[in-house]
Symmetry: C2
Subunit: 151 residues, 2 copies
C-alpha cells in the first residue's frame, strides 16, 4: 500500500472507520494472512494446508469431515484440499467404516509439518512483537468469542 501521494495525505483524512471493530479486524486479518501466505510459499504450502497438517499431527485419526468442522470449511471444499495433500504424499487414509477414513501424516508429511510449524512460529512472533504482551491472552480470548458468534 503506497501512502505517498504528493498533494494529498490520505493518512490524515477524517476517518469514520477509526473505531470500527469489524473493519480493523478485517484489515489486521488480511495483513497477517498475506504475510503467512508469502512466508509459507517457499515451503509450497498454503495457510489452510499447513493448518490441516498441524491439526492432523495433533489429532491423528480425525476424518476429513472432522477437520472441516473444526476449521469451518465446507465438505465440498475439503475434497480437493485433501486430494492435493494426499497426492503430494503428506497424508495417508485408513478405512474406519464404509464411508469414513481416518487421517494420519506420512513420514514426508511429518517433515513438512515441522517446516510449516517453524515458519508459522516465526510469523506469529514477528506480529506479536509490536503488541503489548499483557494484552494478548485477553485479546485472543475475545477473538475466540467473536469467532464463535454465529450470526
Amino acid at each position: 500500500m503506497d501512502a505517498g501521494s504528493a498533494d494529498k495525505d490520505v493518512s490524515r483524512v477524517p476517518d469514520p472507520l477509526e473505531d470500527l471493530l469489524g473493519y480493523w479486524l478485517r484489515r489486521a486479518s488480511s495483513a497477517m494472512m498475506a504475510d503467512l501466505g508469502s512466508s509459507l510459499a517457499p515451503a509450497d504450502l498454503r495457510p489452510t494446508e499447513a493448518t490441516i497438517l498441524i491439526l492432523i499431527r495433533a489429532n491423528p485419526g480425525l476424518t476429513q469431515s472432522d477437520i472441516g468442522r473444526v476449521l469451518g470449511i465446507a465438505r465440498a471444499n475439503m475434497a480437493p484440499l485433501m486430494g492435493g495433500l494426499l497426492k503430494r504424499g503428506f497424508i495417508q487414509k485408513s478405512r474406519v467404516d464404509g464411508r469414513s477414513q481416518s487421517l494420519a501424516l506420512t513420514e514426508l508429511g511429518i517433515d513438512k509439518v515441522c517446516v510449516a510449524q517453524t515458519i508459522i512460529d516465526a510469523h506469529e512472533a514477528r506480529f506479536r512483537e509490536g503488541l503489548d504482551v499483557a494484552l494478548l491472552p485477553d485479546m485472543i480470548a475475545a477473538l475466540r468469542t467473536l469467532a464463535g458468534s454465529e450470526a
Copy 2:
C-alpha cells in the same frame, strides 16, 4: 458450523491452534464479515461498497485512487466497484484535472449511506456485546498496529 457429531466431539480435540493470534484473527474476521454481509444484503450493498460510501460522506472530494489507498484496494479492483456505485446513482464524479475525478454522494447516496450506517452500527453493537468493554480500545489499537505491519 455444525459441531454435533454423534460419536466424536470435535470441540474437545487437542487444539494446536489454540494460542495462534493469526488463526483466531482469521476466524473472528470471517465471522464478522459473514454477518455484515448478510446484514447489508437487504440494503443491496456489499461490505466494501458500504465502506466506500461512508468514506466519501466523511471526505467528499476524495478520488478513486485515494479511496483505494485508504482501504487497501488495488486500482484495478476499484474501477468496477466505483462503476457499480455510479451506475446505481449513489455517487457523482466531478473533474479535478485531466486524470482525476473527485467524488461525492448524490441525494440517493446519502439516503443509502444512512441506512448502511444504521445496519453497521447494529452489527457492531451485536458483536461488542459479548466482549469486555474495557478491553476494546486497546484491542482496536492492537488491530491497527497489526494491520499496519506490512510484511
